[in-house]
Amino acid sequence: MSTTFRASLLAALLGAALPATAEDVTIGVIYPLTGAAASTGLELKNAAQLAADLINGTEKSLALPMVGGGGLPGLKGAKLKLVFADHQGNPQVGASEAERLITQEKVAAIQGCYFSSVTQTASQTAERYGVPFLNDSSSSVGLTQRGFKWFFRTTPNDELFVQNAFEFLKDLEKRKGIKVKRIAILAENTEFGTGAARLQEKYAKENGYEVVEKILYPPKGTQLTSEVQKLKAAKPDVVFQSSYLSDAILSMRTYKDLGFLPTALLANDAGFNDSEFLKTMGKDGNYVISREVWALDLAALKPVIGKANDLYKARHGVNFNGNSARAFTGMIALAEAINRAGSTAPEAIQAALKATNLSADQLIMPWGGIQYDENGQNRKGAGIIVQVQDGKYVTVWPAAAGTKDVVWPLPAWEGR
Amino acid sequence: MLSVERLTKRFGGLAANEDVSFEVGRGEIIGLIGPNGAGKTTVFNSLAGFFPPSSGQIRLDGQPVAGLPPERMAALGVARTFQIVRIFKSMTVLENVMVGAMLHHRAVPAAIGKAREALRFTGLDRRAGDPASQLTVAEQKRLEVTRALACEPRLLLLDETMAGLTQNEVQEAVELVKRIQARGIACVVVEHVMEGIMPIADRMVVLERGRVIANGPPRAIAEDPVVVAAYLGEEYRAPGP
């Protein structure tokens, strides 16, 4: 453990000390590398680095854009060089780091930041400097409603995810005659949770469901007993939940201890799709349904997904997940645009990003492709819905991508 | 000028003072004595506003003042010193006295002027610029008196200002109290050091177990068999070091 760490430290120090050679294309990457979300930040960092290494390498077995080209052919084989920065979950630090990357490290573009609040301030800095900002992993709707010219988002946003969830419910009704009436919403009272809860409530009402309880709770608390008791009293069919990892784990354990069993638990990604979630929950994590942007079983439909995952797993010992796959895809999409731009001039990259048109088979995501609208939002993004079955995330929606049938309702806690 | 009327102070069930009454005339020096635990400091704290009395009244020029907080008492002209000195350790000697002077002279230059005057009066002027924490115990006690004087009080409450002083220092302190009196400032002096208080007091008030057992001129007090039995017999023969 410590030797790899020392090596990476050395690499980071050397990287910081040596100025980029004229050939290199430097890209700034900002993630939360310390603090509560550090474990996710590390996954994102590893995935982005893997993408860069594949692009710089000559191994062509992976049929993805730029991969195996030994650098960027459009820039005479210039190599991608990633400079990572830690925003600590703090918007002010994110903005300062973006500024440092732009002015000090002279990056051609920035990718980040996972936290929507940090993405907001960091992309403001990029906007001020006129440097392209590629947002791979923040889903807050408002980010692409600011009229920014340098902001591009590959991932779908929360609104689409919530729409997906209701399409999924409608689909269930149509195909299987499963009727859901009572919906409860449980969300942490942060930007992420409250935003999702608001959309869920809106769409639930529009689609004729009854919202029997909406609970916003303070995150990372010591107990979730009151919340679960409230849920229990409300007797919902389906619980929509938005929680990060520690609360996801704590809530699941509390459900079990207090004998709370809704018909289904529809999670809003985040903690429920974290690599640690299933490791920790074991059998109790089974049958959780969650919105996702990526799942390993999609490899059955798209072999490149499996191959990319093998590379990642060989390096880091874990599978891709929605977050790391998005970071990986973001880097590929960014590199592809820079390559097409044929220059590191910001305007050229901006123009190239605007002209981006990647097709579905050029991605490891179940998306229709990448093409940005006038606000910089990828209009071809799509979500999927996965369910944990036998300790694995399997795609259950949309039917076209679905590899397994959904298990509905939740089986009793005991005897799983 | 000051009259204490049937002052009673209880802590929980215990009465620290009971029915304490005495008067202080303009420019008078009153010695408040009594064995340890007799309630002298409690009387002091009531007079200075630190403890609201449980019952009874305190009048200053006829106005009832019992229960007023210390800062109001100070504004009405009652200043005090503390048995265990409480100088402002982070300040210089001059600054300590300035805090007192600011009661009536808010502006800094005026406060400096008043403070220097007070320091000259008490003879501490040559130490004005030194940090207060560097003073000797005797000087610290003198500083407290100076600081209280800078408030321009009509009544000064001196709490064991002479305890722990050498013979010479006691003499200096006695001189100082006399000069304070000469300015028309009345003093109530709590003192264990009898040779310090007996010569200068106009009257003595003797407390025992919270009650006044004697009140009169020092000579009469010294001969009062009740007082001698309660207190003086043992103490007067063994003055402080």
């Binding site: 310390t34 603090g35 509560a36 550090a38 474990s39 930040g41 590390l42 009272n189 609970i215 916003l216 709770y217 303070p218 990372k220 608390g221 010591t222 107990q223 007993t225 009151s226 919340e227 008791q229 409230k230 229990k232 009293a233 990892l245 520690s246 784990i249 704590l250 354990r253 509390t254 079990k256 201890d257 207090l258 004998g259 974290d274 640690e276 490791k279 920790t280 074991g282 | -």
Partner: protein
């Protein structure tokens, strides 16, 4: 029924808060230092249990005495190396020091054990306790009982042993204790050791239900502060009863009102109590 269940759940978690706070108040009572790094003792206790389980398949319940000893050592060593030097420093420097220690410990945990979430899976403590229509997780019940036992042991130690009496004497009056021949340095180290051990035991008890990560202490430290102030700085019994009170208010308040404001409820209760009784519920004036 739901309400009774909720109240009892509050008591269970409150007892764990109490144990964390007992350690904190012990340190405060003896030394007048508020330890911002106290949550990190809990974190270390959790990791100790985790590694015992991951490396040697030892159940956290069985390694609990070892965890307690280990944390006692950490606390005492921390006193000898760092805290000893700030005993007489102003309150602000003390806050500053323990705040730095908090960041340091979190950083060290991330450095050595990565920021990943860990958990103890398959401990003997799995399952449920159900009676009369009420049900609780076995780990919570055991954690609560363990917290009561440990708090009780600390209380007994202070009340009934010579060493405990010496510790109490030091807390009451350092000079007087020194005159009685009590070595204050030893007592301070003992307080830190015991305080850390209490938090460590709480960590071990929580390790079977709570996710384990470098910043886990942050969730508990605010409650511990509130309990210490609510119960009265330095009062072990006060911290204990305040723990139960706060646990119940938090859980029941969240249930009956809005969970978003359960912390507000607890903090407001605390402010109200200290406003009416600045010395806390059981503190000496």
């Amino acid at each position: 029924m739901l309400l009774l269940q909720t109240i009892l759940s509050g008591v269970l978690i409150g007892l764990v808060y109490a144990l964390v706070a007992v350690g904190l108040t012990l340190i405060f009572g003896v030394m007048d230092i508020v330890n911002f790094a106290h949550g990190e003792f809990l974190m270390l206790g959790m990791y100790a249990s985790f590694w015992g389980f991951a490396l040697w398949k030892l159940d956290p319940l069985f390694t609990l005495p070892l965890t307690a000893l280990l944390l006692f050592g950490v606390g005492a060593a921390l006193y000898r190396v760092v805290i000893r030097r700030i005993t007489d420093a102003p309150m602000l420097s003390q806050i500053f020091t323990t705040f730095g220690l908090m960041i340091l410990f979190r950083g060290l945990a991330q450095y050595f054990w990565s920021p990943d979430f860990r958990s103890v899976e398959g401990s003997v403590l799995t399952g449920k306790v159900a009676f009369a229509g009420l049900q609780f997780g076995l780990p919570q019940v055991v954690a609560a009982l363990g917290a009561v036992a440990t708090s009780g042991a600390v209380w007994w130690f202070l009340r009934s042993t010579r060493l405990g009496a010496a510790l109490e004497a030091t807390a009451a009056d350092k000079e007087a204790a020194a005159l009685m021949g009590i070595d204050a340095q030893k007592m301070f180290a003992l307080a830190w050791g015991l305080g850390a051990a209490c938090a460590g035991v709480a960590g071990a008890l929580l390790s079977t239900t709570f996710p384990i990560f470098p910043e886990v202490g942050a969730s508990f430290i605010l409650f511990a502060f509130v309990l210490v102030a609510l119960g009265g700085f330095g009062s072990v019994a006060g911290a204990f009863w305040a723990g139960i009170l706060v646990g119940v208010v938090e859980v029941v308040g969240g249930f009956l009102w809005d969970p978003a404001y359960k912390l507000v409820l607890v903090l407001s209760l605390y402010l109200l109590v200290v406003w009416l009784r600045p010395q806390g519920l059981m503190g000496k004036a």
